[in-house]
């Protein structure tokens, strides 16, 4: 039976994450709380907008309304990694060897492993940044498509066009596909080898959460009353194939998804705070957390795939242990 260890916090949880297998909760007011033999807390920002974990999973990386990019280790040591003045750092991403990317307005910056910072100016707002899993390359979600930069080398960026506003971005773990969330209720994908388009539509709401399953065989997404899970096993991705629909619940929207690190199982969070786990093979569901005070905003598995940290809009967060 899964057990839930609740952690009642005050305010919107932007990200729940495991750092060195310790559950961290980053709140919109800038407070970060973590559970390391008791609750620890630190005010990291005056207003926190974005957060992720470092590639080695040893740091929480966050961007704030205070224009700072901060790093926080599992031991609670905070470090200012970048500052851009009085501007909102609306997205952050972590890359290999400690590289970082962050964005504000029409600019994206990459902090290379040697500490050198490169700036990339775009004609329109940068809505999302992501590192490709291979090599030193970033993808930028923007109006009418995505741009790929190679920050370690000089040279022209690669432009991928698709009309509409692209708001979030992710590379598949094998680096073969790039997928964006859009202002419209859709995902858009590109096969990077040939630039072929993949339209993933039919969502009743905006997609805010995406998660690749182990080895990138599937891409799970929110934005519907079920987790929509697109098959990416073939070389052309999900084209011409129907997605799985897991954890269908009437008209209640899925607001966050997170795939298990090794097994084909997804944790699914809903607008009412419920969390389920569903297995892709037989669509079998297990209830992990009953509905709470409000929508699930973030879900994360630990390294072993035994615990799930969840964050919510009103702040009633917690950790589910599925092995207990």
């Amino acid at each position: 039976m899964p057990t839930v260890a609740p952690l009642d916090l005050d305010g919107h949880c932007v990200a729940a994450a495991f750092v060195d297998d310790i559950p961290f909760f980053a709140l919109a007011d800038g407070m970060v709380h973590w559970l390391d033999h008791g609750q620890e807390s630190l005010k990291l920002h005056d207003g926190l907008l974005s957060a992720t974990t470092s590639a080695k999973n040893d740091r929480l990386i966050s961007g704030g309304e205070d224009g700072k990019v901060m790093g926080l280790t599992s031991a609670g040591v905070a470090e200012e990694l970048a500052g851009i003045g009085r501007k909102w750092v609306t997205s952050v991403a972590a890359g290999p060897q400690g590289a970082l990317a962050y964005a504000s307005g029409r600019n994206a910056w990459v902090r290379l492993p040697d500490g050198k910072v490169k700036e990339f100016v775009h004609p329109r707002s940068v809505e999302g940044v992501a590192f490709s899993p291979k090599g030193m390359r970033i993808g930028v979600a923007r109006y009418n498509g995505a741009t790929l930069h190679f920050p370690a080398a000089d040279g022209k960026p690669t432009e991928l066009q698709w009309d509409g506003a692209h708001t979030g971005i992710t590379f598949s773990p094998d680096g073969n596909f790039l997928v964006t969330t859009m202002q419209e209720n859709a995902l858009h994908g590109w096969k990077l080898a040939d630039g072929k388009h993949m339209r993933m539509t039919g969502y009743p709401a905006k997609v805010k959460s995406m998660s690749w399953s182990a080895k990138g065989r599937w891409l799970a997404s929110s934005g519907a009353p079920a987790a929509i899970v697109w098959p990416f096993q073939s070389k052309d991705g999900p084209m011409g194939k129907a997605p799985l629909e897991l954890g269908t619940r009437g008209n209640l929207m899925v607001t966050a998804v997170a795939c298990h690190p090794t097994d084909e199982i997804a944790a699914i969070g809903y607008a009412d705070g419920m969390v389920l786990a569903a297995r892709f093979a037989d669509q079998k569901e297990v209830l992990l957390r009953r509905p709470g005070k409000g929508a699930i905003t973030s879900l994360a598995w630990d390294r072993e795939g035994r615990r799930i940290a969840f964050g919510t809009e009103p702040g009633d967060c917690g950790v589910v242990d599925i092995t207990a």
Partner: protein, 361 residues
């Protein structure tokens, strides 16, 4: 492209969403119109409310406050083939960020530059579901400079759009013009937008409750505090009566105000009728907004339906229209239907004819 139409609960009672939504005031106007003065007053006066302010540049705001957010104007066309379906991407992002810490403020003010199109700003609050669920557009307030407006109207379409789109026009710097110039400027504003409330001020000295918390887009309040709207037809020309050159237009240009200083491209069409047949009216308004959406800047109306004890109110921005029951008709209140379109290239005759054809037999 299908128009976005939200016709609530036509058969029954309740107004829609119960969830508390933070009101948003949009402040438009050119550099020098007094916007910054008004913003500084909103931020500093003791009115018991806290405002988050989204500005284009921190620049001139004299107050340091972490609720002032700078944002690049970023217009996104929706990828649905509809050219007038535009939103402000930056506002979606900033409003979403602000609303994650809702306890800090009671309302939001969005400042736009003189060159900004107010339409995408307004449409953001109708077209984006997340923004819409947490905030509601309260009113669009246009500041204009009495001295320089004639010049602005000559050299830019934006100045006209901002007035056409406004619920409230603050006619500022009236001390810099003489009485005749002031009358002419006001007549120009009235010609562009007969439905807006106009306040004459110096140093942006308008009472803040005349620009904030107006409920201009709130169907339950819309037009209620706006007796002017109901008489728009008759009021159109008051300002001209002492001008000898337009002595006859009362009889001919009923739907189109005439401005002594500006050749307006925006026109308003005011329609009146008796009780309407809902089975005819709704298909008609859908068809009109679908066909004419790009030309319609705003529409507002109160509709009396036959055999319906309640007033029905309707409003729209381009192709987005919303309607709902507002309240019961009062005893002795005449069951008239009124609808005002503000836009460009509107076929007034056709609108009138087809509107009247929707009347109940």
């Amino acid at each position: 492209m299908e128009p976005i139409i939200r016709i609530y609960d036509f058969e029954g009672a309740s107004m829609s969403e119960v969830q508390t939504q933070i009101p948003v005031t949009v402040l438009t106007g050119y550099l020098g119109s007094g916007k910054t003065t008004l913003l500084n007053r909103i931020l500093s006066e003791n009115h018991g409310k806290r405002y988050a302010v989204i500005v284009n540049e921190f620049g001139e705001i004299g107050i340091d406050n972490d609720l002032i957010v700078e944002s690049d104007e970023e217009i996104y066309e929706m990828n649905n083939g509809c050219v007038c379906c535009t939103v402000r991407g930056d506002l979606i992002r900033v409003v979403e960020g602000l609303m994650r810490r809702p306890g800090r403020f009671d309302a939001i003010v969005v400042e736009t530059t003189g060159l900004a199109d107010p339409v995408p700003v307004a449409q953001t609050f109708f077209m984006d579901d997340d923004v819409r669920s947490k905030t509601k557009l309260d009113a669009v307030v246009a500041l204009v400079d009495a001295k320089h407006l004639p010049l602005r109207l000559k050299d830019s379409r934006e100045a006209e759009d901002q007035i056409a789109f406004a619920d409230v026009v603050v006619l500022n710097k009236t001390d810099l013009v003489n009485d005749e110039e002031l009358r002419n400027v006001e007549a120009a504003i009235r010609a562009i937008n007969p439905a807006a409330k106009i306040h004459r001020t110096t140093r942006a000295g308008v009472a803040l409750d005349e620009v904030l918390d107006r409920g201009a887009f709130d169907l339950s309040r819309a037009l209620e505090n706006d007796p002017h709207f109901l008489e728009a037809h008759d009021h159109d020309h008051d300002d001209h009566h002492d001008d000898d050159h337009d002595h006859d237009h009362d009889h001919h240009h009923h739907d189109h105000g005439v401005s002594p200083i500006h050749d307006v491209t925006v026109q308003s069409v005011s329609l009146r009728g008796g009780e309407m047949d809902s089975k005819k009216f709704f298909p008609w308004i859908e068809k009109i907004t679908q066909a004419e959406g790009p030309n319609i800047l705003r529409l507002k109306g109160i509709i009396a339906f036959k055999d319906d004890p309640d007033r029905y109110v309707i409003q729209g921005v381009h192709m987005i229209i919303e309607g709902d029951h507002q309240r019961a008709w009062k005893d002795g209140e005449s069951h008239d239907s009124r609808l005002v379109f503000i836009g460009r290239e509107l076929d007034a005759e056709k609108l009138k004819r087809t509107f009247e054809a929707c009347q109940a037999a």
